[in-house]
């Protein structure tokens, strides 16, 4: 119960090698094949969004379960907690977007004589864009670190007031998150297609974030169990993680369908432009996106037995993680890189860099304390959980 993750030098080194390798090969590709500034910056944005999504989705997982007084997940709390430590790094990486902002967002061009964009100037201008960015991250970092702080205090003290504070901050986080994840997705992704809009977009991105976080937490559990940690996590807990991945993948598909169907049905040019680009020029990826993110979790996790085996669930989780990367790719690339878009060495290496960085930060945070929050009042329920 008091076990602590030992972030061995071996793993540190592997991750650092992957990080440097990723960056160096990306630079090489940029110098050799000159993919164009739009595509490079689109990759930065894509990976930023994806990994911020992982952190925020993890925080959402924690907050929702805390507020709902759920007992089963108590043993797992440190894993999503560790994932939220990426946010400060993500903030710096998002600030980098400033240097590529003209390559990404067409509305940053002051000389554009576009009536529609002129109407949105009050929201879509560079100072306000970055002010909002700072605001989002300030709130996210502040609230997730308060939740983390109280979790960490609970490792040594059993004063219930820390538990209650966690619930308070979880509630505050949920409210702040609901508003800011919508607004940030409008800012960062939706405005790439400056003429386009969809009221569902924020919630669509939210669910995507949640599913990827669930998948990542599951993979993390698999990884730790393989190393011999987390022996008290039983198939009962895995079952519940699998149910969540199953259910919210279906919910994601439902949101995908709602957005697509209503735009298809209304057939209004200002809305259909989004799907016409993606359906006509990126047809294969479009259907792979829908296919993987629905069929794999649905058919892969539909039986009870499939949900209880950590190995199988981990495979499904890995595929879901890749599938949602493709989802973000479809949201971002066609609008930025356009003809130059593709999934090549550049994409793979940059994602490798980000992924290694993320995993490094998560594992480092995990190793700073015991893996279980011993004094959490729901710990007994979680240990004896049967499902």
């Amino acid at each position: 119960m008091d076990e602590q993750f030992d972030f061995k030098k071996k793993y540190r080194n592997i991750l650092i090698i992957l990080m440097t390798g990723g960056i160096l090969v990306s630079l090489a590709v940029i110098l050799i094949s000159k993919p164009g500034a739009s595509r490079i910056w689109a990759n930065v944005l894509l990976n930023n969004q994806y990994f911020i999504g992982l952190s925020l989705g993890a925080a959402f997982f924690l907050a929702v379960h805390r507020v709902a007084q759920s007992g089963w997940h108590t043993l797992l709390q440190r894993l999503p907690d560790a994932m939220t430590t990426f946010l400060p790094v993500a903030f710096i990486l998002m600030l980098l977007i400033y240097f590529g902002i003209h390559n990404l967002y067409s509305w940053t061009d002051k000389n554009l004589s576009d009536k529609v964009i002129e109407g949105k100037r009050a929201w879509l201008n560079i100072p306000f864009f970055f002010a909002r960015l700072v605001f989002y991250f300030a709130g996210w970092i502040a609230l997730t670190s308060m939740i983390r702080k109280n979790s960490n205090t609970l490792m040594t003290s059993s004063d219930l007031k820390y538990h209650n504070r966690k619930i308070l901050f979880s509630g505050l986080f949920l409210v702040f998150y609901g508003i800011t994840v919508s607004a940030s997705s409008w800012d960062w992704i939706m405005s790439l297609d400056a003429h386009w809009y969809s009221t569902l977009f924020g919630w669509y991105v939210l669910i995507g974030m949640f599913v990827t976080s669930l998948a990542f937490i599951t993979l993390l559990i698999w990884f730790l169990k393989r190393l011999g940690y987390l022996k008290y996590i039983r198939p009962d807990h895995i079952h519940d993680m699998a149910i969540l991945i199953f259910a919210f993948s279906i919910f994601w598909t439902y949101q995908w369908y709602a957005q697509y169907e209503l735009i298809w049905y209304g057939h209004l040019p200002e809305e259909t432009s989004y799907y016409i680009t993606r359906l006509h020029h990126f047809k294969i990826i479009f259907f792979i996106n829908l296919g993987i993110n629905f069929s794999v979790p649905f058919f892969g996790l539909i039986t009870i037995n499939s949900k209880r085996q950590i190995g199988w669930v981990a495979i499904i989780a890995a595929i879901v993680l890749m599938g949602h990367w493709i989802d973000y790719w479809l949201m971002i690339m066609p609008a930025t890189a356009g003809d130059k878009a593709g999934i090549g060495v550049l994409e793979v290496c940059m994602t490798l860099f980000y992924a290694s960085l993320f995993i490094f930060i998560v594992l480092r945070s995990l190793s700073t304390g015991p893996l279980v929050i011993k004094n959490d009042p729901y710990i007994e329920e979680s240990l004896n959980y049967e499902s």
């Binding site: 529609v116 109407g119 409210v175 508003i179 969809s198 439902y254 007994e380």
Partner: protein, 459 residues
């Protein structure tokens, strides 16, 4: 299963299996009290008024309603969507809370599901009577005919037909499958007579065998598993009645999940209204405890916040879109001739539900009761605002008109309320309001007694 000491007991007081049975069955087997008769009288009169209005509509025609061009939909579809929304809480409690293993749902799911069935019945009235020639209602179903015609499967109105029929059927079946063991209990408590024969017939020969329980549990969980996406899909399809149009204020992609959240919001409010009265009237406070009310309030604030977020999103996106028709649609909602409806909507849905952040209010039964009624009024007005303000002033200014409801339409709304409450009052006298076997199955974990001693012995 071990319980954290932080959890409040789900069943208060020292109970045995036998006392659970008698606590739940006695109020319904004994003679009805004065308040039941009073409730039945009021609901009955409302129902009769409504039935007369239905007759008047069918006899005289849709001209007795206030609809015109361009406001072709107003009162009735508002009430229709309102009732379907209310029904969703029942399925949410039975199905989704079961899948999330929330044990506190066990004492409220029976009445919530019954509420769903009655709400869907009330809602289903409207597609029947809103047709110019109700005699030809069967046209909405695809059947082979001599004209070679089929229904328009492309239309959300036809999807509605399938969605609501399926929803009604599955809810009914789910409710009844859960009822079978309890009808068995009823059957065995009554010694003889017509009542016993009826319950015997309805109990399908339930004997409590372990294999039957096993299948019963699996069937219930599987029904819950399919009822969950069903409930999401039904209200999404209802929302697509509006969202698949191109009218500003209607054509917006957020409608499906937003309507579902709103439905759960108003549904839980109705459950609160019904249960706060029922638990007092039937002496079931030990089973439907204050913590149940508080948990439902938590769901109210969650869904209320989602609804508020949806309002903000829609308002922002109307401006962001740059489409002047969208701008006007939302300016008109807040400042046009129906601004008062808009204020009621915001006040009753957003402002009032946010009060539930305050713990004292969340735990107060009186506040919850009044709030639940306020929320339902607000949700009715939400649909009214969406439907009427978008229709009465859309693209062509020469087509702008005003809508005024007639007494017939009010009568239909009151009538459906009458039908709903009459049905519910009858239900509490005929079937057990609380799922007896489910409460017994959580007794070991939910009982206050468990916290004092750990020894358990069964016969």
């Amino acid at each position: 299963m071990l319980q954290s000491p932080l959890r409040t007991p789900l069943i208060e007081g020292k109970k045995t299996y036998g006392s659970i049975t008698s606590d739940i069955l006695n109020p319904m087997m004994n003679k009805a009290g004065k308040f039941w008769y009073l409730g039945m009288t009021i609901a009955g009169f409302a129902m009769l008024f409504g039935v007369f209005m239905i007759f008047w509509t069918v006899w005289q025609g849709i001209g007795t309603w206030g609809e015109n061009r361009t406001v072709g939909w107003a009162f009735e579809i508002t009430t229709f969507v309102w009732w379907i929304g209310i029904g969703h809480a029942g399925t949410f409690i039975s199905a989704i809370l079961l899948l999330f293993r929330q044990k506190w749902r066990n004492s409220i799911n029976r009445s919530a599901e019954a509420m769903t069935i009655f709400a869907v019945i009330c809602a289903a009235l409207f597609p029947l009577i809103h047709l110019g020639r109700p005699l030809l209602t069967f046209f909405i179903f695809p059947y082979p005919n001599t004209r070679g015609l089929w229904v328009n499967f492309n239309s959300p109105l036809v999807w509605d037909v399938f969605a609501i029929s399926t929803y009604f059927t599955i809810s009914l079946v789910f409710w009844y499958v859960g009822l079978i063991p309890d009808i068995g209990t009823l059957r065995d408590k009554i010694s003889k007579g017509l009542k016993k024969n009826i319950y015997n017939f309805l109990s399908f020969g339930w004997k409590g065998s372990a294999r039957d329980w096993h299948r019963h549990e699996i069937t219930s969980i599987m029904l819950a598993a399919i009822a969950t996406p069903l409930v999401l899909s039904v209200h999404s399809i209802v929302s697509m009645d509006f969202a698949s149009s191109i009218v500003p204020g209607w054509h917006t992609t957020i409608f499906p999940p937003y309507f579902v959240a709103g439905a759960i919001f108003s549904g839980f409010a109705m459950v609160q209204t019904l249960l706060i009265i029922t638990r007092k009237a039937m002496g079931l406070e030990a089973y439907i405890t204050e913590s149940h009310v508080e948990n439902m309030n938590k769901i109210l604030i969650a869904t209320g916040s989602i609804v508020a977020l949806a309002y903000m999103t829609e308002m922002f996106m109307a401006w962001y879109s740059g489409v002047e028709y969208e701008h006007y649609a939302f300016m008109n909602r807040a400042t046009g001739p129906y601004w008062w409806a808009y204020m009621i909507m915001i006040g009753c849905n957003v402002v009032s539900s946010q009060l539930l952040w305050i713990k004292k209010l969340r735990k107060s039964l009186v506040f919850t009761f009044f709030l639940s009624i306020v929320i339902n009024i607000g949700m009715w007005f939400e649909r009214f605002v969406i439907i009427v303000t978008s229709l009465h002033r859309d693209y062509l200014t020469s087509s702008w008109t005003m809508y005024k409801p007639t007494i017939v339409e009010f009568g239909l709304l009151i009538g459906t309320l009458g039908i709903f409450f009459t049905a519910f009052l009858l239900f509490i006298r005929i079937f057990p309001v609380i799922s007896i076997f489910e409460v017994k199955s959580i007794m070991k974990t939910g009982d206050q007694h468990q916290y004092e001693t750990e020894s358990s012995h069964e016969k």
